[in-house]
């Protein structure tokens, strides 16, 4: 696969090794290689490749009340496409994705602030910003639910000082998605921050100094140096962010519970998949949904790779 440039390096190394040995690979070496790969290969076959095939098969079947799968053709796909809750979940998921992406500019601003020459306590800031990302998502959800609590929550109290009315943030359908999305942004900003800081380190300091000598201010330097030279990292981060947001489940599951009136308004595609597969025993439809989401992620990733030519600089 040409996507992975290192393969070429591996091949060159092989040729060198073969030349040094004076022969091609001996049968015994081949066997050793297969022995090295076998444990992982077996695990993949059992837990990934076989399930992929099965998911695909399940999506054309219905799971009977007494076990066993009966072939139903494209019925599940028809159900998925027609079901309103699917489109609602998809809409929510796209919204989470959009909200989640705001973590990138935030992280970028913090990363460039931390890049100021001679700034102290940089490692401390970095460490603190990363803590939410390390924390158990279930715990994060519980803490934020408490902060968002409509009756006794701290957020209402603090906003009250500024004259904002009390709200039930996570059970009000008009705010629930944003309340959850804000927590996503809060917990992922630190991850992108570290990614961007590593990227910025790769930009020669000379560029900044030269630009400064030419009289470019901080904002100008950000837009003409940091942003274009960091674009490969930003691109990678946006792909990751999209893939992660499309699969979001934990936070919503924990923050919404089951009785919340806004469940439908916040449900993600994976959440709906879980509900169908393990609570409503609609495994066939769930498999069809899973398969479609897989295709969607693949298509969007492909699209992003196509679009990157327009804005990503590879130095």
């Amino acid at each position: 696969m040409s996507v992975f440039p290192a393969t070429a390096a591996a091949k060159a190394a092989d040729r060198r090794a073969a030349r040094a040995a004076g022969t091609g690979p001996a049968g015994r070496d081949q066997r050793t290689a297969y022995l090295f790969v076998a444990p992982l290969g077996l695990g993949f076959a059992l837990f990934y490749f076989w399930p992929m095939i099965q998911t695909f098969y399940f999506s054309f079947t219905e799971f009977g009340p007494f076990g066993g799968h009966t072939w139903v053709g494209g019925d599940n796909y028809a159900r998925v496409v027609k079901d309103v809750t699917v489109w609602q979940a998809l809409g929510n998921t796209v919204l989470y994705c959009g909200i989640g992406l705001t973590a990138l500019p935030l992280a970028l601003v913090v990363a460039s602030l931390l890049n100021r020459r001679g700034l102290r306590a940089v490692p401390l800031y970095r460490a603190l910003y990363f803590v939410p990302f390390v924390t158990l998502p279930v715990a994060v959800g519980l803490v934020w639910n408490w902060l968002y609590n409509g009756d006794f929550g701290l957020l209402n109290e603090v906003l009250g000082w500024f004259g904002v009315d009390r709200r039930y943030w996570v059970s009000d359908p008009s705010t629930a998605v944003f309340a959850i999305g804000a927590v996503m942004v809060w917990s992922t900003t630190g991850y992108y921050l570290i990614l961007f800081m590593a990227g910025i380190k790769g930009i020669p300091q000379d560029y900044y100094e030269a630009a400064e000598l030419d009289g470019a201010g901080a904002v100008r330097r950000f837009f003409t140096i940091t942003l274009p030279l960091l674009s490969p990292t930003i691109f990678f981060a946006s792909v990751i962010c999209m893939i992660q947001s499309l699969q979001v489940f934990d936070l919503i599951y924990i923050m919404m519970g089951e009785k919340n009136p806004a469940v439908g308004d916040t449900q993600s595609v994976v959440g709906l998949f879980y509900k169908w597969a393990f609570m409503e025993n609609a495994q066939g439809a769930a498999a069809a949904l899973a398969f479609l989401l897989m295709l969607l992620i693949a298509a969007l990733t492909y699209l992003q790779f196509r679009l990157q030519k327009r804005w990503v600089h590879y130095g």
Binding site: A10, P25, F36, V37, L40, F44, T55, L113, W186, F236
Partner: protein, 303 residues
């Protein structure tokens, strides 16, 4: 379109602005605090406060009484510091078993990935065999498939092994990782060929070379993988919710969700529980911070 400059590898927008030679010596001067650095610190600390404050509030709430947390307006510091919520968590749920399950899950997945991925990665990076590139491509295809979407058949497999509600159910599928294999293969590729050749001349076999020569040299990559895997394992929710529905067999992440069901409004107990549950990973983070940062930076290698 005509964007070939960007792909050619020589295009650098700032090239024309390179400083004239003779500038560099200035750079050795000590950086002195610059104007505006106070404002920078102010913005950065405000951000840090937003990141950290929820955890402070979590602790403060855990130490208050139920009556105190349902007061409007809320008190900031607890009136009297009450630690009993932490005890209550352990009686409300089999919290000790849950913590143990989480630990087993974390160790199992991490150990599995380190062993299986490093073996395969070594073969992919350093050995020649028929179908290698095809197999590697196939393995990488696992990366493209969201793992949450394979849980239906995976559940069936675990069930057919009779492993539902057991510790191995938690970590079995997670012991195999395409990302880990990719990461370690990249690390092996950077090592010089001569090392293996020298070891081979000394009479070492393939496994010996792998184990005592090559593996120690990719320690940073192994540490990065271990940290990523451990974090994912400790924090995982969907899979444990599915395979281990028995409270005694649940890891702490799934256990907390049932605490939410039982203690719907008892926020001191929930905060105490969530604090205990996130503490182990936070402690690991405090002590191995360097590796966490390294692991995120190396996840960027993928691009």
């Amino acid at each position: 379109m005509g964007d070939s400059t960007a792909r050619g590898g020589t295009f650098f927008p700032a090239r024309t602005g390179d400083p004239a030679p003779g500038g560099p010596p200035q750079r050795t001067r000590r950086p002195r605090p610059r104007p505006g650095s106070v404002a920078t610190h102010l913005v950065l600390s405000l951000g840090a406060l937003v990141m950290i404050f929820p955890f402070c509030w979590q602790l403060l709430t855990a130490l208050k009484s139920l009556a105190e947390v349902s007061r409007v307006p809320p008190t900031f510091l607890p009136e009297d510091w009450k630690w009993s919520s932490f005890d209550e968590v352990f009686t409300a749920l089999p919290f000790r078993e849950m913590l143990t399950n989480s630990a087993i899950n974390t160790v199992g997945r991490t150990a599995g990935q380190l062993v299986f991925c490093s073996l395969a990665a070594y073969a992919f990076a350093r050995m020649r065999f028929k179908g290698r590139d095809l197999l590697f491509g196939l393995f990488l295809s696992v990366l493209m498939v969201p793992s949450s979407l394979l849980v239906l058949p995976q559940y069936d497999i675990i069930q057919s092994f009779g492993l539902l509600n057991s510790a191995p159910a938690l970590f079995l599928p997670g012991m195999f990782s395409a990302f880990g294999t990719f990461l370690l293969r990249q690390a092996f590729l950077t090592l010089p060929r001569e090392l293996e050749e020298a070891a081979r001349i000394d009479g070492a076999g393939s496994f010996r070379i792998f184990w005592s020569v090559m593996l120690p040299l990719i320690r940073p990559a192994l540490a990065a993988l271990a940290v990523i895997t451990a974090m994912a394992a400790w924090n995982d929710l969907l899979w444990p919710l599915i395979v281990n529905t028995d409270p005694e067999a649940m890891p702490i992440s799934a256990g907390l969700t049932s605490l939410e069901g039982q203690y719907e409004t008892n926020y001191p107990v929930m905060m105490a529980g969530s604090l205990i549950a996130s503490l182990p990973m936070l402690l690991v983070y405090v002590f191995l911070q360097r590796h966490f940062v390294q692991s995120v930076a190396s996840s960027g290698v993928k691009s």
